[in-house]
């Protein structure tokens, strides 16, 4: 076969079809652009992680503990010749003295030296080192929120610090983490004076270590061995890199899938456009065969043409994607712990181009394959059909299925999720395709022969040869389902928090870290402020000494059935009471709420996940170390706890009559009705009880909304690709059918139909298509939303129907508008002029 001739013919044939071919391209361009942008960004991020790994940690190694590091251990590190800086952090209220407002923050007291690598980003710049013991560094957003400036004061516990600068960047911390717990840095040597480190306060200790230059691997190993021996958790640069990489992979995996859906939508457009395009080429191919071209030569011409289009589209898409990734740092700034230096990522560009060409090929292969069987006799008789059986189409479907599954797996890295994703996609496809076929069947079956001319014409458009029903219903429907699911997920998350905040008689403010000596006074003060004391919950901290008779040491030796070390190392916060709350349900055993005599066995209750981790069953013994005193208990019941409810829930629950005399602190639940009431109460509390922390559910709601807004901004950005692709597919299919329908519309106009007739016929057709597709897309998303709400978020599903109605109207009207916009020439210009122009 003369390959050069195939290329020449493909080129020649494309000359008069460029506008249409460009529409095929657009879908590929957008899909590939989205993919390349995400992947390039991911590549750049990976490189950055490699280059700036040390800056992420601010040290060579970060050691964590729930207790202050013993001097002996610090001495050991000194003897190793390493530098170290201690940090203690805890949640606490701080007061901005200028505005008089207070807020729960993450107080971090650090010794000088940290960060050893990288630096704090500050406003004004280069103010990241706390040289003055009376100064603090405060998160920049907090300063903005509370209208505080550099030089103003912030009161942390009993000490007032001058604000040295606003913090814009902390080594290893993302903006989103700062949103949840905004940091305030104070000098380490002043933390005691704040008087906030009292018994019951949840303190986190860290030690940042910097190795000397040219440290030997043996020394590093011996330090790590020592940490293991001391049961200390630590993160080194490699681990931190992995953690950030993994977190980012989850996000990019999801975003890649969104981009992939955009590409798939485009592919549906390509497939349907190629299908109609090939139908138009049947006569031409028959003629070529008549003149002596072989079947595979006809196939070859269009294969070359479409592959070239796919290649061009992918190259443009890859270029566009590379440009778009420069916008990503803005998009991701709250999720990344560093500024990212972007470069052209050739691997992503090449991957994108290859993927673009493969998808173009796969999705245009089915209509292309039909070309091989076109009979040359069609030149003489258009009605001749080739009925030879062809197995290739089945193979194409299998290949498309495998391709989608394979790509999903590459993105998600998990077969179960990938299969689930493909199944949801398949179900959505089948439902939408079924709907389209159903519409066609119903319209044909119950055609209203006696209704108006306009209605009959628009309905007939739905099933006439080369109709757009299938392609438009699938693309618009899938796009709507995607958007609507994103919208509903956001709504579910917000509602979940909102329910707790607004339901009557449910607490919406939590006060914790209350000392035993403070509780009475605090309760009285709450009541004086006309707020109810909904609950005062005692909390006792303890550790597990042994499980089923085995201590931590014995467990470590047992390599077969041993438990993980953390179950012994961690601190358990336990309460005692004689009844269960609304968020608890006993799943096995019996809850015994009271121990009456000192010789009675103590039957405790565990959360089912903890029971699983501890590998215990009803009746198994557990010994707790309550601040030095050992208490032997037996597992009496296992509870399912609804952790999603914003209440004070506990993994370990003791019956009353055991822990009453143990050292404890309290959590108090109350409810306020107005923001002013809350602000006034918080102000009084911070002044009077500086060590007590307050969580205002409204603040949580606001934080959750902020976090979701940031996440959904990224998601919406990606969904934007799907929408644009959907619109292009819509324009494409309208344009393709336009060439076929122009003749009919012109004929109708020649026969006396007015512009209004043509306009109404087309508007009604697009309204029916857009409306049904949007409605089905929304219904599909309602099912997904319901599944997410009940199965994943564990909450009730109350979709905002008014917003969904808005989305339905928007999509339906957009369809009508785009449809009509493309027909404007047929509507506005005189019939003869259109015929001349369109040839």
């Amino acid at each position: 076969m003369n390959r050069f001739w195939l290329f020449k013919m493909a080129w020649r044939d494309s000359r008069k079809n460029r506008a249409r071919l460009f529409l095929f391209l657009s879908s590929i361009i957008l899909g590939i652009a989205a993919l390349v942008a995400i992947q390039s960004f991911g590549e750049n991020l990976k490189n950055q992680l490699d280059n700036e790994a040390k800056e992420l940690l601010g040290a060579d190694i970060e050691i964590q503990s729930r207790y202050a590091f013993p001097q002996k251990f610090l001495g050991y590190l000194d003897s190793m010749g390493v530098q170290s800086a201690r940090e203690v952090s805890f949640a606490s209220m701080v007061l901005f003295t200028k505005s008089g407002e207070s807020r729960l923050v993450n107080v971090r007291a650090v010794e000088p030296g940290y960060p050893y690598y990288g630096s704090f980003g500050t406003n004004p710049i280069n103010q990241g080192v706390l040289t003055n013991p009376n100064q603090a560094l405060v998160d920049e957003t907090l300063l903005l929120q509370y209208k505080a400036n550099t030089g103003d004061s912030v009161k942390v516990g009993e000490i007032t610090f001058a604000i040295r600068a606003g913090l814009t960047q902390i080594p290893g911390q993302t903006g989103i983490a700062a949103t949840v717990a905004p940091p305030v840095f104070i000098p380490y040597n002043r933390v005691e004076e704040t008087n906030l480190m009292q018994r019951g306060s949840r303190l986190y200790y860290k030690l940042y270590v910097k190795y000397p230059p040219n440290i030997s691997e043996t020394l590093v190993k011996s330090i790590k061995d020592k940490l293991e021996a001391e049961n200390l958790r630590y993160d080194d640069v490699e681990e931190r890199k992995e953690e950030i990489g993994e977190a980012y992979e989850d996000l990019t995996g999801f975003l890649n899938l969104t981009a992939f859906i955009a590409l798939l939508l485009g592919c549906i457009g390509v497939a349907s456009s190629v299908h109609i395009y090939m139908k138009e080429k049947v006569q031409l191919i028959a003629l070529l065969r008549c003149l002596g071209a072989k079947g595979r030569q006809g196939f070859g011409i269009y294969l070359v043409q479409l592959l070239a289009m796919g290649l061009i589209g992918s190259i443009i898409g890859a270029f566009l994607g590379t440009v778009i990734q420069y916008y990503f740092p803005l998009l991701f700034k709250d999720f990344l712990p560093f500024d990212i230096d972007l470069q052209l990522s050739w691997p992503s560009v090449i991957k994108g181009i290859v993927l673009g060409v493969i998808t173009t090929l796969l999705f245009s292969l089915y209509p292309l394959l039909k070309i091989r069987k076109i009979s040359p006799l069609k030149v003489l008789r258009a009605s001749v059909e080739n009925n030879e059986p062809d197995r290739w189409p089945l193979l194409v479907y299998v290949l498309i299925g495998l391709f989608i599954l394979g790509f999903s797996y590459l993105q998600l890295g998990n077969w179960f999720t990938s299969v689930l994703f493909c199944l949801v996609l398949l179900v959505a496809f089948v439902v939408l395709a079924g709907l389209a076929q159903g519409i066609i069947w119903l319209v044909k079956r119950f055609f209203p022969t006696k209704r108006s001319f306009i209605l009959r014409q628009s309905l007939a458009n739905l099933y006439r040869p080369n109709n757009q029903t299938l392609v438009l219903v699938i693309t618009i429907g899938l796009g709507t389902a995607l958007l609507s699911t994103l919208f509903l997920s956001r709504q579910i998350l917000l509602d979940k928090v909102n329910i707790s905040a607004t339901l009557e008689n449910r607490p919406n403010m939590v006060l914790f870290d209350i000392q035993e000596s403070q509780i009475k006074e605090l309760e009285d003060l709450t009541k004086q402020n006309n707020l109810p004391v909904l609950a005062s919950i005692p909390v006792v901290t303890m550790q597990i000494e042994s499980v089923k008779g085995k201590t931590a040491q014995e467990n470590k030796a047992d390599t077969v059935s041993g438990l993980r070390n953390w179950v012994f190392n961690r601190e358990y916060r336990v309460t005692y009471r004689n009844t269960l709350t609304e968020s608890e349900t006993v799943t096995s055993g019996i809850w015994q709420g009271k121990v009456t005599g000192p010789r009675d066995s103590i039957f405790i209750s565990l959360d089912e996940r903890l029971a699983e981790d501890l590998k215990v069953a009803i009746g198994d013994p557990l010994v707790f170390n309550v601040q030095g005193a050992f208490i032997t208990t037996y597992l009496g019941s296992i509870r399912k706890v609804d952790w999603q409810r914003l209440e004070t829930n506990f993994q370990v629950l003791f019956p009353s009559g055991v822990l009453e005399q143990a050292p404890k602190f309290y959590v108090l639940l109350t409810r306020f009705e107005s923001a002013a009431e809350s602000a006034k109460y918080q102000q009084v509390m911070v002044q009077k009880f500086p060590s007590v922390s307050i969580i205002d559910l409204n603040l949580i709601l606001q934080t959750v909304d902020e976090v979701i807004s940031k996440v959904s901004f990224i998601i919406q950005f990606m969904a934007f690709f799907s929408i644009i692709t959907g619109i292009i597919v819509l324009i494409g299919s309208v344009l393709i059918s336009k060439y076929q329908r122009i003749q009919e519309s012109v004929l109708l106009r020649t026969l006396g139909a007015s512009r209004n007739h043509i306009l109404s016929i087309n508007a009604l057709e697009y309204f029916i298509l857009g409306s049904l597709a949007a409605l089905t897309g929304i219904v599909i998303s309602l099912f997904i939303g319901m599944g997410l709400a009940i199965g994943y978020f564990n909450t009730t599903f109350n979709p905002d129907l008014l917003s969904l109605l808005g989305m339905y109207l928007f999509i339906t009207l957009s369809t009508v508008f785009i449809g009509l916009y493309n027909y404007r020439s047929v509507i506005i210009q005189p019939p003869l002029e259109i015929l001349r122009k369109e040839g």
């Binding site: 003369n2 001739w5 020449k8 020649r12 044939d13 494309s14 000359r15 008069k16 079809n17 006569q283 031409l284 003629l287 070529l288 065969r289 008549c290 003149l291 002596g292 071209a293 072989k294 079947g295 595979r296 030569q297 009979s375 040359p376 006799l377 030149v379 003489l380 008789r381 040839g839």
Partner: protein, 234 residues
């Protein structure tokens, strides 16, 4: 001794239509010699186009045999028959059947390009000049009138110098005056190139310009008239 270019023996073609077998061509026999011209005439549905399709190797017969230039087409695959058409056969259609995306010159060049011949541009330009379109070679079909399109189609039909030319109602879509010019062009080129011409037409005046007229009815040849034409071999 004259050379047989097309030999049709006991040719039949049937289609199944539901439970019934519809015979559109029944036991047709004839032979054409090199350089001769023949018209196939008959009413609509008489089997003319089916016969043309089978003779040109566009379709397969239900029974019987077609031989073109000593090659029996009966058992050849579609691609093998395409090679025969490429080498030996030319076509002129009632609706011109030009490729709309190619210019006049490119349309004429197609059969030669399929044969993988080199330096064809000048030859094809010459042919276009012969049909009177030397200055319009770069125009697309949509920029040409019906008569001009048929001229391009004639140039294309002769470009691969076929030994057998099939013309299906070549003047059917043209007015009388243009039709007459096209007829003249076909016969002149046919004479010049020594091609064997098979013409399918309703137009008896056109048929009379050929050396032989096969009349068809109900899928059969009902008469076979040979005419003596000045300057044309029998």
């Amino acid at each position: 001794m004259s050379e047989t270019i097309l030999k049709v023996s006991n040719l039949s073609k049937s289609y199944s239509s539901g439970d019934k077998l519809l015979t559109v061509l029944a036991d047709v026999n004839f032979e054409l010699e090199k350089g001769s011209s023949c018209a196939i005439v008959g009413p609509s549905g008489s089997g003319k186009t089916t016969l043309l399709g089978l003779c040109a190797g566009l379709d397969k017969a239900s029974s019987g045999s077609v031989t073109v230039n000593d090659v029996v087409l009966d058992h050849l695959s579609e691609d093998e028959r395409a090679l025969i058409r490429r080498k030996h056969i030319g076509f002129i259609f009632q609706s011109f059947n030009l490729i709309p995306t190619l210019t006049a010159l490119e349309n004429v060049m197609i059969p030669l390009e399929l044969k993988n011949e080199k330096n064809i541009r000048e030859r094809c330009l010459e042919l276009l000049k012969k049909v009177g379109l030397g200055d319009r070679y770069n125009h697309y079909p949509s920029q040409l009138s019906g008569g001009e399109q048929q001229r391009v189609s004639i140039a294309r039909a002769f470009s691969n110098e076929p030994i057998l030319l099939f013309a299906d109602e070549p003047t059917g879509n043209l007015d009388d005056e243009t039709g007459a010019t096209i007829q003249e062009l076909i016969f002149d080129l046919n004479k010049e190139k020594g091609t064997t011409l098979v013409l399918v037409t309703h137009d008896l005046d056109l048929a009379k310009k050929t050396s032989r007229i096969l009349k068809m009815k109900g899928g059969k040849i009902v008469s076979d008239e040979t005419q003596v034409l000045a300057g044309l071999p029998l």
